[in-house]
Amino acid sequence: MTLLAVSSLTKRYVSGTRPVTALDDVSLTLDRGQTLGLAGVSGSGKSTLARILLRLMPADGGMVRFEADDWLSLSGRDLRRRRARMQMVFQDVLGAFNPRATVGSVLDDPLRIHSPLKERDRRTEIAALLDRVGLQAALATRSIRDVSGGQRQRVAIARAIATRPSLIVLDEAVSALDVSVRETILRLLVELQQERGIAYLFISHDLAVLRAVSHRIAVMDAGRIVECGPAGDVIERPRSDAARSLVAAVPRLVIRG
């Protein structure tokens, strides 16, 4: 069942002398409970698409249907209410959080805004969320600055699932993590998807990571989707130049003679 349908999305940035077409007639669909991997070299427009879907900035043209809504036309109270359904996890940078926040307050914010829970029940819910992402409840009082990068990404995931979304947009969410930590986070994401039926739009320039979690993969190049198909097909039989060069660029563990 289609959860998200993006049609003919366009976006131009006008800064300095020449305008940049960051999205050029982008269309895609994503089914409930599935993962669409979005690959592409730097500057191909991946984050621009993410920011527009999350309503962090407007598109120039095109249309997005998300659940039952004409998503880009929502505003005011409707938008605030429905936002709970689409959440995000970005690359681990401290800038994604208020630096003075504690782990507990990071999780309390979405619950206060989007759930009817009273304070005591929110505390119970926060403990349950931390537990679900593999963190101890005692971490709630810790400053977000004083936890490791891997723990911070777990907090970001807990924050994202707090409002029971049907879609999470992940933009380079595991790129800054060490491989061992990355693997545990990828497994956690797949588990949560099985358990809760969440769909992911999973953005990364690393096809090996996308292969691990994606049902389908779309490849962007210069603002356009140049290829989209089942993950295995795109990786084993890339049809576009952009997909071919992404496949070729993944380092292989080679044992040279």
């Binding site: 730097s42 320039h205 070729a248 380092p251 563990l253 080679v254």
Partner: protein
Amino acid sequence: MTLLCRMLNLRVTYHRQASAALDLSALDITAGERLAVIGESGSGKTTLARALAGLLPETARCEGEIRWTSEMPPQPGRDLGFVFQDPSSSLNPVLTVGEQVAEGARQHLNLSWSQAFRHARDLVASVGIPDPDSALNAYPHQFSGGQRQRIAIAAALSARPSILVADEITSALDMVVQAQLVALLDELVRQAAMTLIFVTHDIALASGLADRLVILKDGRLVECGATAQVLERPQSDYTRALIASHRTLSSRSLLPGSAE
């Protein structure tokens, strides 16, 4: 095989830190080899690279010794080039590309400015910057991240150093650009028969480039050996785990029911 340097009981402790960031009992570097230094975040890779280059902060305490076979330790900028993860720390934003790439040659190869600029032009061309003549007069911000790293490499090679230290130079870049830069480095190091110290957290990336791997964990050397040997017969559990958690295109999907 000629020994280039030998590190013995090398301990580096940063200002006000209780424990050492790097603690190596012994490590040799051979002249002309390509050595990759691998480890997770905080394992001491940058500390090792900077200690070798003589570029540790003054407040860091360095014990033990680095014995160079040359009479003097290599002088950074002349005998040893250094490229950082973030090109903005290798390049000065207010100097033109030409000025920065010519500088090392002018200082250390006794070239006049005009000779040094011609040398810089050749270097900028050799690292694959289009239209090198106009690039010389441009500023770093006018280039993409990958191009800035190419320029940083050209600047590091300006005085024809015999040692190049590259610290995570591709980590901030996309994989297509990463692959291009590694191919470039491979070619440049081969041509000039340089010693390469290649720092990375990516064991696969290292495997395509290095003769020998050094694996660090918590500031200590876990394993060191020829690339093929470490990959085929890792001696430590840590190295085995590092190899196992590395994802390649042929790794299994994590999705349930995906038969591979």
